[in-house]
Amino acid sequence: MATTTLVETLTQYFFVIISAPLYSGILGKLKAMVESRHGPSIFQPYYDLWKLFRKVTIIPADSGVFFKYIPYVLFGIYSLIALIIPVLIPVPIYFTASGDFLSGAILFSLAAFLKIAAAINSGSNYVTLGASRTMSFNFLSEGTLITVFIAVSLLTATNNPYTTIAFLTSYSLENLSLTHMFSTLAFFMLFLYETGKIPLESSGLQELGMIDEGLNYEYSGKLLAVAKWSAYIKQYLLGSVLLNVFLIPWGLFSTSPLFLLDIPVMLAKWMILIFIVLIVETTLAKLRLFRVMDYLAIAFTFSILFLIFVEVIQ
């Protein structure tokens, strides 16, 4: 049993770390195909990361000590989160007990805060612009993140996402319950914001509409590679929670050695999510910056409203 758990732990950890950039690559390729371009290959993010690791790291003269070390700390935080929440294996593994689901949400907030602190510490003006934007939107998005993570507990009276997955797979009709549907919707809106998709943020270095990307402006070389990788991992973690706990809780195996089958199952589920995100990205236009706050307010309203209603109804 112990070895099974150990193998499961290692599988989950390495799967998360290694496959995280793949999804951005797939999304990029599919978007290009929709726009009638050839587009980059799906492994392009890997090539980019490899290239960045071999480049020289340049650090601004005005930066402080945070700037140099925070990307590694972020990587560590996201690794810890990768073991706490159900992103591959639907049963708890080693290190899962080090924090419950809500602490996962708080860890996300911690990571965001550290990233912003590091960015401001770089002493550059553009980055501070991006940091101020991120801060002014984060107050709504953090609230939504926390309430959505709490919404997991509304169905099963416990904050344990693994229990929720088991509950939802055995009582399939609960998937259509009011609270579940609307918290899924709120989480999806949040996912689009946190991972920087259109309609909220457009990536590309000339875009002044950057919100999250702006924080990476001053990094270069190894630090940039680590920062980008952390961003990919964050995208994977949030999307996996959305898939495994909210949208499609079925299909995950927990016994040995069937848990190795979880890998292709997760890849398949991610394809569904990528497909949905693709439709959203290619049909909508980017929102103006002050509208982003309205968008987040709507997501926040959904999550809080259903928290209130469910509390009263049940």
Partner: protein
Amino acid sequence: MNYIDSVVYLISSLIAISAFYIQGQEFIVSMIRGQSVQSVLIAVLAFIIAWEERSIDFFILGALIIVLRAFLVNYFLQKRIPKQKSYIYEGRVSLSYLFLVDLIFIVISVFILYSIAFSGIFLHSFLENSGNSSVLVFPITLFFQGLFLIASRRTTFTQIIGYVEEENSLVLFAMFLLPIPIIIEASVFLDVLALVVISSIVVLEKFTHEPVEELRG
């Protein structure tokens, strides 16, 4: 929860969402349409109750709601929008703050009202836990949404819509609570109609309501 319960709760929450939609709108035509959607949802609830209770009264009520609120009020208000502007834009609506204040308002009012007083009310028997009168949260929420809409906006149309929303919440409240005699409902409807008629006269003259110096203090 059985099916009827879920459906009733779902429609009631959609009614609450439509109230938020109206709150966040800048274009007046969209607000009027949102209000029609809300009235149609309430009528659907009336039909559901009519079906479950086998009562013809609720069926007539639902039909009346659709005819009077969803169609007539809609038609009347849309006719009043000046012809040269097929849309009217109300500027400076900062949605996020309105939503947040709205939410706080709802939370406070709902919890206070609900937890203090309503614990002893019995509703229609087809709802599964009819001893738990929790579905009354929705009409109360809608009522305060209507009040907040009146308080937070400045154009006459929006305030009329807020008032119609309040009356909608009353109908919803009465529908859940008791087999109400039709006469009372009819008087409520006629009252809204008369109000819309009078407002249409005022609307022609005065469109926005800024604070007036003479009427201060």
